[in-house]
C-alpha cells in the first residue's frame, strides 16, 4: 500500500538534493559513485529518479557527495493518514467489559477502568 504520488515526490526531492550536493562537492557522477562504492551507473539512475534507494544506498550516496544524510533527506517527509490507525480497531468506548464487577472500556490508549 505505497502511495505512488508521495513516493514519486519523495524520489524527485531526493534526486534534486543529490544533484545539488554533488555539484556543491564539485564531483562528477562517476566520482561520487566511486566514493560511495556503487556501480558507476547508480548515481546517474538515482539522479534521473529511476531507482528507489534503500537505507544502505542512502548512507553510501550521502558519504559519496561528502554530505550528511540529513542534508540528503532535506525536505523529505510523508503525510500519513493517522485515522487509519483506528479504522481496524474497536471504535473507542464501544467495547466494555466487566473486571471484578467494575466496567472497563476500550479507549485509544488501551483498556481503561471507568465509573469508579
Amino acid at each position: 500500500m505505497i502511495d505512488e504520488v508521495q513516493s514519486a515526490r519523495a524520489l524527485e526531492r531526493f534526486a534534486s538534493n543529490l544533484i545539488e550536493l554533488r555539484r556543491r562537492a564539485g564531483l562528477t557522477q562517476l566520482e561520487a559513485g566511486l566514493r560511495a562504492g556503487l556501480h558507476r551507473t547508480e548515481v546517474s539512475l538515482l539522479e534521473r529518479r529511476l531507482r528507489m534507494p534503500r537505507l544502505d544506498t542512502i548512507l553510501r550516496v550521502a558519504a559519496g557527495v561528502e554530505a550528511d544524510p540529513t542534508e540528503l533527506l532535506e525536505g523529505l517527509a510523508w503525510e500519513l493518514d493517522r485515522d487509519r490507525l483506528w479504522s481496524a480497531r474497536p471504535v473507542p468506548g464501544r467495547y466494555e467489559i466487566l473486571v471484578g464487577g467494575s466496567p472497563v472500556t476500550w479507549a485509544p490508549d488501551g483498556w481503561r477502568r471507568v465509573g469508579r
Binding site: 544502505d56 548512507l59 544524510p69 510523508w78
Partner: protein, 223 residues
C-alpha cells in the same frame, strides 16, 4: 560491528515505543504487514526510501533521526597506470586480459625483445648482421633481445625498424600504455555501538501498557 539495518531497527523500535505504538499499530499506519515491522526492527531489511519516510511519519520523528549513528566511509583512492603487455606474442592487449605493471618497464622490454628476436630470426639474420645494418653495437642488440637495459630511445628504435624493413608497430605488438585510472578501495559502514539505546528499548518494553489478562477478557462481556 552491527549493520546499518540493525541500528535502524533499534532506532525504529525505540521511537515506536516512545510514540506508544505497538508493532501492529505502526504496521496499520504505514500499510505494511506486522511481520514486516518486526523484521525491520530486527534489522532483517534495508528499508526503501519511501518506506523509511512512512515509518518516520508513523513514529512521529524526522526521517534523519532514524539514520543517526551510522555512516559510510569511502575507501582509499588509488591511482593506477602503467605499461601493458598482451597475453601472447603477436596479439595486442585487450581490456580484460591485460596485465598492468605500474611504471615497471620489465614486461614491456620482455615483449619488445621477443618481437625483435622473432623478426630477426624470420629474416634468418644473426645478431651481428642486424647490429651492422642498424649501426649499433651487437652487445646492445643482445641486451635488447634479452629484455635487459632500458627502454630504447626513439632514434635507436627507428634504426632497428629501418634495418629490419618492417613497420614500427610490428616491433610493438602486444605492448602499450594503460591510462591512469582511479580505483576506489572497498569502503565500510561505521555503525555506533549504542548501549544507551538498548537500555532505553529494554525500559520501554518493560513499561509498555498491557492488555487486560486473557482471563479478564474472557470473563467480560461486550455490551
Amino acid at each position: 560491528m552491527s549493520s546499518p539495518a540493525e541500528r535502524f531497527g533499534l532506532l525504529l523500535a525505540c521511537r515506536r515505543m516512545r510514540a506508544a505504538l505497538g508493532q501492529e499499530d505502526l504496521a496499520r499506519l504505514v500499510g505494511i504487514h506486522r511481520t514486516e515491522v518486526a523484521l525491520l526492527e530486527r534489522g532483517g531489511r534495508r528499508p526503501r526510501l519511501d518506506t523509511l519516510l512512512q515509518l518516520a511519519a508513523g513514529v512521529e520523528c524526522e526521517p534523519p533521526e532514524l539514520l543517526t549513528g551510522m555512516r559510510w566511509i569511502p575507501g582509499v583512492a588509488e591511482v593506477r597506470g602503467g605499461y601493458l603487455t598482451g597475453p601472447r606474442p603477436g596479439r595486442p592487449p585487450v581490456a580484460g586480459d591485460r596485465q598492468r605493471s605500474a611504471g615497471d618497464p620489465a614486461p614491456l622490454l620482455g615483449r619488445f625483445g621477443a618481437n625483435l628476436r622473432a623478426r630477426r630470426e624470420a629474416l634468418g639474420w644473426t645478431p651481428d648482421e642486424l647490429a651492422d645494418r642498424a649501426g649499433i653495437g651487437v652487445k646492445l642488440l643482445i641486451e635488447l633481445e634479452e629484455a635487459g637495459g632500458t627502454i630504447p630511445a626513439l632514434g635507436l628504435f627507428l634504426s632497428l625498424v629501418g634495418a629490419l624493413g618492417c613497420r614500427p608497430s610490428e616491433l610493438l605488438t602486444g605492448v602499450g600504455w594503460a591510462p591512469y585510472e582511479i580505483f576506489e578501495g572497498e569502503g565500510t559502514f561505521e555503525v555506533l555501538e549504542d548501549a544507551g539505546l538498548l537500555d532505553e528499548i529494554a525500559a520501554l518494553r518493560e513499561a509498555r501498557p498491557k492488555d487486560p489478562p486473557a482471563s479478564i477478557r474472557q470473563g467480560g462481556r461486550a455490551r
